[in-house]
């Protein structure tokens, strides 16, 4: 290789020498600081600028592939970051709402995340990532930022299952906030309704439905939903009051389990009374 370079240099020795001597003399000229050299420097700078500008597409063209790959990588990374930020923003909003709920509640609350949902069955349930070791017990109420979610039915060490409002086994004594009309909220597999509301009672769409003091399983005044429709059927004793839950079960991700259990003395007494009357 070196030999070949030497041969080429020897073959063109006159030109190599000329180039060397010309470069040396240009170097000497550049040492001057007179008007001519300043002028030449200006012209050279402008000329190089123009040429460089015209030829700038060459490296740009050859660098396009690697630049594209780099931009794609950055794009993926930024999209991932943006998605993460959006997720964190939404989580932040939810947690703020939950924090507000926690501050309003008069009972101790245990935060839990929903790890599984069954929302297409007659007996819809949620599975939470908090269990017996977190202080969760069966029959504890579960609330979200919108209001009542359901009731804990089964508990393991680290998980618990919740029967939600959309469950045919779920019942809660409720009242209309405005008119204090009582009833029982239950789900028939298609709609959530406030039952046992006499035809003559004052219930209109838009009324807020809360848990009532008659409930042994839930503390009073937990928001359940809003009355969305009231129907009076001919010959029937009760109104058909449809309730829209204030909790969006589809979007729900975090909940609180309330440290509230039914009063055993009250439950026992009510049970005893039922047995005496034979009911």
């Amino acid at each position: 290789m070196i030999r070949r370079i030497y041969d080429v240099l020897f073959l063109f020795k006159e030109y190599v020498l000329l180039a060397t001597l010309v470069l040396l003399s240009i170097g000497m000229i550049a040492l001057n600081d007179n008007v001519q050299v300043r002028r030449i420097r200006t012209v050279a700078t402008v000329a190089f600028g123009v040429v460089e500008d015209r030829l700038s597409f060459i490296p740009a063209y050859f660098g396009l592939r690697s630049e594209n790959a780099l931009l794609r990588r950055i794009n993926v990374s930024l999209a991932d970051e943006a998605s993460q930020l959006r997720e964190e923003k939404l989580e932040n909003i939810r947690l703020r709402q939950l924090l507000g709920l926690k501050q309003r509640s008069s009972y101790p609350l245990t935060a839990a995340e929903i790890v599984s949902k069954n929302l297409t069955l007659l007996r819809n349930t949620l599975t939470l990532d908090a269990g017996r070791l977190d202080g969760i017990e069966p029959l504890m109420p579960v609330v979200g930022d919108g209001g009542l979610v359901g009731l804990v039915t089964d508990v393991s060490d680290h998980f618990s299952v919740v029967n939600i409002l959309w469950n045919t086994d779920f019942r809660v004594s409720a009242k209309i906030q405005r008119s204090r009309v009582d009833g029982i909220v239950a789900w028939d597999g298609r709609t959530l309704a406030l039952r046992n509301v006499a035809k003559t009672r004052d219930v209109v769409p838009g009324d807020v439905v809360l848990s009532s003091e008659y409930s042994s399983s839930f503390p009073p005044d937990i928001r359940i939903g809003i009355v969305s429709d009231v129907q009076i059927q001919e010959g029937a004793l009760f109104k058909t009051v449809t309730v829209m839950p204030t909790v969006d079960f589809v979007k729900l991700e975090e909940v609180f389990v309330m440290d509230y259990l039914p009063d055993e003395e009250r439950s026992d007494l009510e049970q005893e009374a039922k047995q005496k009357t034979g009911k």
Partner: protein, 165 residues
């Protein structure tokens, strides 16, 4: 070694003549360039490489003495010596030097030399740049060619004597 010393002595002698005697024969500020005559002689007799090295050395000497524009004579003399080297032919060197071909080569190399020299030297000057360039180039070249008639006759005389022997 003797060859290089002789070349150095000739260069110094030419420089002395160029700087002391030549101003007396200047026509309107135009001087013939004696170095060109010598460099063409070197190129025709000894080839391109030696002519370039001599041109570089002569230009350097001229620049050091003149202190006007360091490096300019080096560049112009190196390039013109390179061009003169294309007329090197060992077999016909003496005939070339003793004939009008010598004048032609001197004219060509002088024109190239002056073109490089004055294009750079006249940068940044006020007034008609192109006409100044043409006038200076052509007049200096013409004067140098006229002066080169003297060595041409001398070479002709010298080499015709050697041919006769």
């Amino acid at each position: 070694m003797e060859h290089y010393l002789r070349s150095a002595a000739i260069a110094i002698l030419l420089l002395l003549v160029q700087t002391t005697f030549m101003p007396f024969v200047a026509l309107g500020g135009i001087l013939p360039d004696l170095f060109i005559l010598w460099l063409v002689y070197i190129a025709v007799r000894r080839g391109q490489i030696e002519a370039m090295l001599t041109g570089f050395g002569a230009g350097l000497l001229q620049d050091v003495v003149s202190t006007k524009f360091f490096g300019l004579a080096v560049l112009s003399k190196t390039v013109s010596s390179f061009a003169a080297g294309y007329f090197f032919n060992e077999n016909t060197a003496e005939q070339t030097l003793g004939s009008y071909r010598y004048l032609s080569i001197v004219g060509l190399c002088s024109l190239l030399h002056n073109l490089i020299y004055f294009v750079i030297f006249l940068q940044g000057t006020e007034g008609p740049w192109l006409s100044s360039l043409v006038i200076l180039c052509l007049s200096t070249t013409l004067y140098t060619v006229v002066v080169s008639v003297i060595p041409m006759f001398a070479f002709s005389q010298k080499f015709s004597t050697s041919w006769a022997q």
